[in-house]
């Protein structure tokens, strides 16, 4: 257990942020080690519903979402596997007058941020999408909304990293981190890791990792639930989101329908438990059935829950950890699955070049005060 590993960069967390950062660094010739307290690609990155929706992003994140689509499109070739990426376009729906008002109000900000969105009246919606019920009073349409399969990305990425020589240490617990000197030292139960730079990309655990360095980065925990139906004839060709973000729905290429919307299960980071809240998941399904009655006859085959780390302003953490020259963070993006491939690239640029091709100041990990 006294083994020692050295690399240019050590990344704590093997989710979408950490592995895409690793990919970019490795592609730039950096040696990288990834440490994960569990399995890589097993938490939020693996168990999210795979939405790559532009319409449900906060306006400041829209330009990044658009840029992320380009990264996504190039991904199959880059990691050598089909990730089931489909840009179907999507409807963001409203079912109450208040939600209609909200949709209209959001339209302008979205357009200013560069998102092509169109408001749709009920007649137009129902002519175009007979599978949406009369409960839908209005919708906005965005041709860019997409989805991809989280469980296809992970293995492809993992294999590519292995080929690029990235060292991946799973089920490895960090005991202490020392970043005071030029070289960062991590003591773990699998030996010591040394590197010139440290990246914290530990999702919901990122606040805890930062705390090991005496830094306060506020992270709260969401436990999002998702349900999936049996395969069905292909009907729902577009992804569906909700004016209040309480429903996401898509039919993926194997015919199953994924139903989510951030309905909360229960759980805590300490024991890694995430449990289904049986009341709330039924409410999630009630809403889905109200919007798409064609789901009613389908069997629900599985439900699950996954962590999501959230910052106080719901914007991600991306950049240098205040007080350190050699510690970075990429975490807690709402819609991290969408943004992760781009954020990995931006953080790679920052580490390699000292600057990024898109501004990241708004995501500064120190913005809530780090004392």
């Amino acid at each position: 257990m006294s083994s020692q590993q050295s690399s240019d960069v050590v990344i704590v967390g093997g989710g979408v942020m950490g592995l895409f950062t690793a990919l970019n660094l490795a592609e730039h010739g950096r040696s990288v080690a990834v440490i994960d307290s569990g399995r890589v690609w097993s938490e939020a990155s693996a168990v999210n519903a795979g939405s790559l929706a532009a319409q449900n992003k906060l306006p400041p994140l829209v330009p990044y979402t658009l840029a992320a689509f380009d990264v996504w499109k190039a991904l199959p070739e880059r990691i050598g596997c089909d990730v089931d990426y489909h840009q179907t376009g999507g409807y963001k729906i409203a079912t109450t007058p208040e939600e209609v008002t909200r949709l209209r109000a959001g339209l302008e900000a979205q357009r200013r941020a560069g998102l092509p969105v169109r408001f749709m009246e009920p007649d137009e919606i129902h002519a175009e999408t007979p599978w949406l019920s009369d409960a839908v009073l209005a919708a906005t349409w965005c041709p860019l909304d997409s989805f991809a399969s989280p469980i296809r990305v992970g293995p492809g990425l993992h294999g590519t990293l292995a080929r690029l020589g990235v060292a991946i240490a799973e089920n490895t617990q960090i005991r202490s981190i020392d970043a005071s000197a030029a070289a960062v030292r991590l003591e773990t139960d699998a030996g010591e890791f040394r590197a010139s730079q440290l990246v914290i990309a530990a999702g919901a655990w990122s606040g805890q990792v930062a705390a090991m360095l005496g830094s306060r980065v506020p992270v709260s925990l969401d436990v999002n639930m998702v349900s999936v139906t049996e395969p069905a004839p292909f009907v729902i060709g577009k992804i569906v989101t909700h004016a209040r973000g309480i429903l996401t729905l898509k039919q993926v290429s194997n015919g199953t329908c994924l139903i989510g919307g951030g309905w909360q299960g229960t759980g805590s980071l300490d024991d890694r438990r995430k449990d289904i809240d049986l009341d709330q998941i039924v409410h999630n399904l009630i809403l889905a059935n109200r919007v798409i009655p064609g789901l009613g006859p389908l069997h629900i085959v599985r439900s699950w829950a996954g962590y999501e780390g959230v910052s106080p302003d719901s914007l991600p953490y991306l950049g240098r950890l205040p007080g350190f020259d050699n510690v970075y963070m990429a975490a807690c993006a709402r819609g991290g699955f969408t943004l992760g491939p781009l954020f990995g690239q931006l953080l790679g640029e920052l580490i390699v070049n000292g600057r990024t091709s898109m501004p990241i100041e708004a995501f500064h990990p120190g913005r809530f005060g780090n004392a």
Binding site: H86, T88, E230, P233, F234, G237, S253, N254, L298, H299
Partner: protein, 101 residues
Amino acid sequence: MRSAQPIGGIVPGATVGFTFNGTAMEGFEGEGLAAALMRAGIRATRSTAGRGEPRGYYCGMGVCWECAVEVEGIGTVRGCMFPVREGLVVRSPSVRPKEDL
């Protein structure tokens, strides 16, 4: 080939009519759809979405879903668990999703 046969001494329910993939069939009221199809000599009751391989009755206890068929107005049912009744419109499930999203 000897067909699937009712066991001697068992008096089945009344004969009822239903359709399977558009073909008129006869079943005994109350027997499983899978049993009725087996008696009619239909062994593959569906083909798989991915490779188009034939599948039929296998576990007989509602576990494997291999005998799944679609009943109009109801949805996918397990053929071994769903009783035949007059007028059912039954199809092999068409789960092959559209290739091009």
